[in-house]
């Protein structure tokens, strides 16, 4: 197929939370920015399947990039969630200890937090912790309470960053995996990149590698430094909304070398979440995001240690996410080997929390590189800082629901009964700045199919709305990426 040519100042590779928040930061400038994502939607890697925690910042080693960006990012989220209208709840977090050794860790974390500049921390007794969280185990002897921690919907935050960037002129090309990056002499002396994807040949002055688990591959395509990403798998169990009040804060156990341990937390949208496990992924494993019996059993056992009444029933789905780990810190810097390439790699936990702060610095790096290349990267005067989200009929008062219905009756037609999502909300999702015409895409934007029946009732209606909006035949509507069409041949075809 003839590939169509694009010319841009900055090309971002990867539509996770890092790439999307960088896109938003760059959209402040009067430059051309383009983002390519290999999957059919944003937040399809680690950004879509994680704990959704805005960490306070007492975990990372003082002086590390993680420490710097975590604390800064944590402070940015309250305002960002208001400006961009994505779910965020400042619930605070507890790191609980079961013995003196655990309390030692708690005290270490507290000290580290102070050094990192974490505000509002307190070491509390087991009884104080249980007063806050009645479901906590009697075995808990004390805890670190960090008020600044919160919870967000990680995919909705990613989508919000991206949509705001798109409204400000950033172009998003989805389902476009990068398969080559070449350096060329553009014109007389200036160097540029030519990046090839399935359908495009993109000339870019600066390339930002925010490819998550694929960052190593992108770096090697560009002929830059070797980035060896090791992947770890985190498994989760998501419970029904009616268990969302089981706990009210994020409950961690004391961390170990494998990560921050299993947590029990409410989600920003009112479910109860348990996880993650932390297991290495063997190379070439096709099913890196598959859940396992062992993983599910393990997190349940660990969750019961924190909260002994954690119910066995009431789970509505399980999932697994990949953590792209590179060394012991984020790797964020202009490439030493390939000028014009900025590496944003190894963005594992606390990557979600750090992303908006990382984005500010990376945007500065990119602007600097552009200026060196003679591009006038000045701030726009008409930059739009706010994004209108899709209204949540479930959370509205009766007066608000009635008013919305009078304006547009489709907000009175419930499609997803479990999450109270109306046809109006689904139509809005399908008209958003970066529309994704898949069942999962709709689900991530307005929660249709996210509830206890997992789309058993509403998916045919969602399919019809997608079919109408995108002009796709009904049976060819997809769940997610290529090859996930719902219809498989015809009826009565033998």
């Amino acid at each position: 197929m003839e590939s169509s040519k694009r010319c841009t100042d900055v090309l971002i590779v990867g539509g996770g939370v890092a790439g999307s928040s960088i896109a938003r930061e760059l959209s402040r400038y009067s430059i051309r920015t383009l983002l390519v994502e290999k999957r059919e939607d944003l937040a399809r890697g680690a950004s879509g399947a994680n704990s959704g925690i805005v960490h306070a910042g007492y975990d990372p080693k003082p002086g590390s990039l993680m420490a710097k960006y975590n604390v800064k990012g944590c402070a940015m989220y309250p305002q960002l969630s208001r400006d961009l209208e994505f779910p965020y709840r400042p619930v605070g977090s507890l790191v609980i200890a079961f013995d003196e050794k655990g309390m030692e860790t708690v005290r270490e974390l507290y000290e580290r937090g102070l050094e990192n500049g974490v505000p509002d921390m307190e070491i509390i007794t087991g009884d104080q912790a249980r007063r806050m969280e009645p479901e906590l185990s009697d075995a808990v002897v004390g805890a670190l309470y960090a008020k600044s921690a919160g919870i967000i919907s990680p995919y909705e935050a990613t989508i919000a960053f991206a949509e705001n960037a798109a409204v400000n002129g950033v172009e998003f090309l989805l389902e476009e995996p990068v398969y080559s990056i070449e350096k060329i002499k553009a014109g007389t002396e200036e160097e540029a990149f030519v990046v090839k994807t399935d359908h495009y040949e993109i000339e870019a002055k600066v390339v930002i590698n925010a490819a998550g688990a694929g960052a190593g591959l992108v770096s090697s395509m560009a002929g830059a430094e070797k980035i060896e990403i090791s992947e770890r798998k985190g498994e989760y169990t998501l419970y029904d909304r009616n268990l969302g009040g089981f706990v009210s804060t994020v409950i961690f156990q004391t961390p170990d070398e494998a990560g921050k341990g299993v947590l029990v937390t409410p989600t920003a949208e009112g479910n109860l979440l348990l996880g993650p496990s932390s297991d290495p992924i063997e190379e070439g494993e096709e099913t890196a995001t598959a859940t396992t019996q062992e993983g599910q059993d393990k997190i349940f056992k660990m969750g019961r240690k924190s909260t002994p009444n954690l119910p066995f029933g009431g789970a509505i789905t399980g999932f697994a996410g990949i953590r792209a780990v590179f060394g012991s810190d984020f790797y964020i810097k202009p490439s030493d080997m390939v000028p014009g390439l900025i590496q944003v790699a190894g963005i594992c936990s606390p990557g979600l929390t750090s992303a908006p702060a990382i984005a500010e610095d990376v945007a500065q790096m990119a602007v600097q590189l552009l200026k060196e290349r003679g591009v006038d990267a000045s701030l726009k005067e008409n930059w739009i800082s706010k994004r209108k989200g899709i209204p949540s009929v479930r959370e509205m008062s009766w007066e608000e629901r009635n008013a919305l219905c009078q304006e547009d009756p489709s907000f009175g037609q419930i499609v997803c009964r479990c999450e109270t999502v109306t046809e109006g909300q689904i139509r809005m999702a399908l008209r958003s700045p970066i529309p994704v015409y898949t069942i999962d895409g709709v689900k991530r934007r307005c929660r249709a199919g996210m509830g206890r029946c997992q789309g058993s009732f509403c998916s045919p209606v969602v399919m019809r709305l997608i079919s109408e909006a995108a002009g796709i035949p009904f049976d060819q509507v997809r769940k997610a990426g290529k090859g996930t069409e719902i219809g498989q041949g015809k009826l009565k075809e033998i």
Partner: protein
């Protein structure tokens, strides 16, 4: 802009226009109720029956074999002939109970529809008939990947029967509930290779006639004590690993077997949809997943009744109609009274031994009624024994009813006559007492 919502007063609101709600409405009307409305969330009345295009419905109630849509249509016609109002595309989101209201309209039913926005129906009586939903993979915690091709049997039924979409060609079905059995046959008839039905229990959860007609007659193997332990495939399902299970339903190591397929249908149980009831703080039965009711199908909230699959999951719709008739008539009588009857003296019915649950869970014992029950595991050549027991432990057998075979998939009915009721009343008098239903060898 209109921000004040519409308020309407009716004697009786029926939440759900499936078979239960329709039968309740018709019986309330026939008892004398003229102020009633059915609220239905779908675009049409009839509920899930509209996608059940197979036959086998109505043998008990209409003494005739009908398809699901035909069965539904009979009741829709009855409701229309009587001029019973129904409002479709209308979803009830909340029911409030205001016992302090002196005009008797103690229930406020809030709903949302595209045509009217928010409407509050103030009612004297409410019948809950929201039906049930299917259990999903997440409920089972089946590990593996999350590809396309895994559907609840009911969703697959809708895709095939109503939307004309073929979801796959190589099918494995987990769970031998009736919908799974029906879909095994349907998929085969539509050209799919239905490789097997796996059932974790040592017996089927479906009706005997469905095992015969949908599996045996179609040459589809049924693997008992077998479950799916892993799911494979990145974008589309490529196969499942099945394994035999021990008597504790745990997979037996070494029995794992890979079965390639592009579709996995789940028919692993139904859950009464009681989100509204729970929010209304109706007392629930943890075994049925539905409200606890008396012989009139009245819940713990006065003037609120429940019937059909929202109360407990039925095996055949004819029993739903029968049960809903009781609820509809009682709801009318409550509305007629003008005020909610404060709790009459209740005697609890307790399921014990192999009896898993009873409906009703308590009764006033004032007039003859039937106790419906389900056993936990199959049992042959036995009898149901209903025993009254005083608080001091003294007890008396009220009745015994023999059976040739009792199975979990088939509900049993035990009628209580006036004679037996007076025996209960005489024995228990004012003493605190309970009725115990159990099974024994005949």
């Amino acid at each position: 802009m209109e921000d004040k919502h519409l308020i309407r007063q009716v004697n009786l609101v029926i939440v759900g226009g499936g078979p239960a709600g329709l039968a309740a409405a018709v019986s309330a009307y026939d008892a004398g109720e003229r102020s009633l409305v059915i609220l239905e969330r779908d675009r049409h009345l009839g509920g899930i029956l509209q996608q059940c295009i197979h036959n086998g419905f109505g043998l008990q109630w209409f003494k005739q074999e009908l398809t699901g849509p035909e069965y539904a249509q009979r009741f829709i016609d009855q409701a229309e002939e009587r001029g019973i109002e129904s409002v479709t595309s209308t979803m009830v989101l909340e029911i409030q109970y205001h016992p302090e209201r002196e005009d008797g309209f103690t229930k406020s039913v809030f709903c949302l529809s595209p045509s009217d926005g928010v409407v509050e129906f103030q009612a004297r009586s409410v019948v809950l008939s929201m039906g049930c939903r299917e259990r999903v993979r997440g409920n089972l915690k089946t590990p593996g990947t999350r590809p396309v091709g895994i559907y609840s049997a009911g969703l697959a039924q809708r895709l095939v029967n109503l939307e004309g979409v073929m979801p796959g060609k190589e099918v494995v079905i987990l769970g031998s509930g009736d919908i799974g059995l029906i879909m095994a046959r349907r998929m085969k008839w539509e050209g799919a290779n239905v490789k097997m039905v796996c059932e974790i229990m040592p017996y089927s959860a479906g009706l005997a006639r469905n095992i015969q007609q949908c599996l045996i007659d179609q040459d589809i193997p049924l693997h008992l004590s077998t479950t799916v332990v892993n799911i494979h495939g990145k974008d589309r399902l490529t196969g499942v690993t099945i394994a035999e299970v021990d008597e504790k339903r745990q997979p037996i190591p070494g029995t794992e077997r890979y079965v390639s397929c592009d579709t996995l249908l789940l028919s692993v149980g139904l859950l009464p949809e009681n989100e509204l009831s729970r929010a209304l703080q109706v007392e629930m039965d943890p075994v049925t997943g539905g409200p606890k009711v008396d012989e009139n199908r009245q819940t713990s909230v006065p003037g609120v009744y429940a019937c059909g699959n929202v109360l407990h999951v039925h095996d055949i719709v004819d029993f739903v109609s029968k049960e809903s008739t009781i609820a509809g008539k009682a709801a009318y009588e409550n509305a007629l009274q003008g005020h909610d009857e404060a709790g009459v003296s209740r005697i609890s019915l307790v399921a014990s031994g192999n009896v898993r649950y009873t409906v009703p869970q308590h009764a006033s014992m004032e007039k003859p009624f039937s106790v419906y029950c389900r056993v936990g595991s199959p049992e042959s050549e036995g009898k149901f024994v209903l025993r009254a027991e005083k608080a001091n432990g003294e007890s008396e057998v009220i009745l015994e009813k023999k059976f040739i075979r009792a199975v979990p998939s088939e509900m049993a009915e035990i009628p209580l006559s006036e004679k037996q009721l007076s025996k209960i009343r005489d024995f228990l008098k004012d003493a605190e007492g309970k009725l115990y239903l159990t099974t024994q060898k005949a």
